[in-house]
């Protein structure tokens, strides 16, 4: 293994991972709000710093991690294994966490959880082009006072259909983290989304 690819993790793991955890938690508790996730990580090229921050914060030896094919280079896999110890799976439905930047991805392919254990579904982190500048979307649901509008750029073309299907199977369904440019938007499965 090329050990030169190991640099670029958290410089201060305790404080930085807590900062990232706070961003993810606040993002999911307040769907649609934009959280700061710029932590200065320098992962191998194909992995964005935001996806890296989520992986290093949430994944460990006991959590399975899935990456889309473009992301899963040897350098990225080696770096993630070194910094998280997480077992990497090639099966979406086995993953507790997923990192992807593939706009053609399908939420239904991931672990949807069970009615008994809905918490066991995959948490999907999707790198998009920008958290703004796209189609305006109106969000309602738990954690949102009335409604909130977001305009993420680079979502899957059929995202609204997928999201409606994801929400329809409540309490099952995946939770989604949208990341770009040091920012994060959390979309828990309970959030309802329509065109603004």
């Amino acid at each position: 293994m090329d050990t030169n690819t190991l640099d670029g993790g958290f410089a201060d793991p305790v404080m930085q991972s807590q900062t990232a955890f706070r961003a993810v938690m606040d993002g999911l508790a307040n769907p649609g709000t934009v959280q700061d996730l710029a932590l200065g990580l320098v992962p191998p090229s194909s992995l964005s710093p935001e996806l890296a921050a989520i992986a290093l914060t949430l994944c460990d030896h006991d959590t399975t991690l899935w990456l889309d094919r473009d992301l899963a280079t040897d350098a990225v896999l080696g770096w993630l294994r070194f910094h998280t110890s997480a077992p990497i799976t090639s099966e979406r439905a086995q993953a507790q966490f997923a990192l992807t930047r593939d706009p053609t991805m399908t939420l239904a392919d991931f672990d949807q959880g069970t009615d008994l254990y809905p918490d066991r579904s995959t948490t999907v982190a999707l790198a998009i082009q920008s958290v703004s500048g796209g189609q305006a979307l109106s969000l309602t649901g738990p954690g949102i006072d009335g409604s909130i509008t977001i305009a993420p750029h680079g979502l899957p073309a059929d995202f609204l259909t997928q999201w409606a299907e994801n929400g329809a199977q409540f309490p099952r369904g995946v939770d989604l983290l949208l990341v770009a440019d040091g920012q994060l938007i959390g979309l828990p499965r309970t959030t309802r989304i329509k065109k603004a």
């Binding site: 190991l6 640099d7 910094h83």
Partner: protein
């Protein structure tokens, strides 16, 4: 996860084994005696975590989880580029970091590390083990059969 191959005579592996077995004070002394101390920076850790220690049913049967042990680990990079990894039982972060530094130095200059660090550590470990074995050997039972009468 499939088990990694075991290179029994890999010198780096043997070096790491000797370093992990060493007393923390011996490593600190070895480091303070090291003349040309290189600069190094942390890549990961040092940090403490747990390793689940496994045994085997019946000693040689199916594996089971016996219980955890505290383990410290560190990864450092020397200014000359070598990356060293350190792992050891316990929560001594300085020890884990020193092992990582010596592991990195071992890649740069194995002969010097062998002569000045590893050889004395191995000699000390062998002496300690020998003493322990001899103390145990003194408690060995030597059975003898009492002479029984013929009638």
């Amino acid at each position: 996860m499939t088990a990694l191959p075991v290179p029994d005579t890999d010198p780096r592996r043997l070096a790491l084994n000797a370093l992990a077995a060493a007393d923390a004070n011996a490593l600190t002394a070895a480091w303070s005696n090291w003349s040309d101390k290189p600069d190094f920076k942390p890549v990961r850790g040092p940090e403490t975590g747990l390793v689940m220690v496994r045994g085997r049913a019946g000693g040689g049967g199916a594996p089971f989880n016996l219980g955890e042990a505290s383990v410290s680990r560190a990864t450092v990079r020397l200014e000359s580029g070598e990356i060293g990894h350190g792992y050891c039982l316990g929560r001594d972060l300085d020890k884990a970091r020193l092992i990582a530094v010596f592991d990195a130095l071992f890649q740069r200059d194995p002969a010097t590390v062998e002569t000045w660090i590893l050889a004395p550590l191995r000699a000390g470990a062998t002496a300690a083990d020998t003493k322990r074995k001899q103390e145990t050997a003194a408690t060995k039972v030597n059975f003898f059969t009492m002479v029984r009468g013929d009638n």
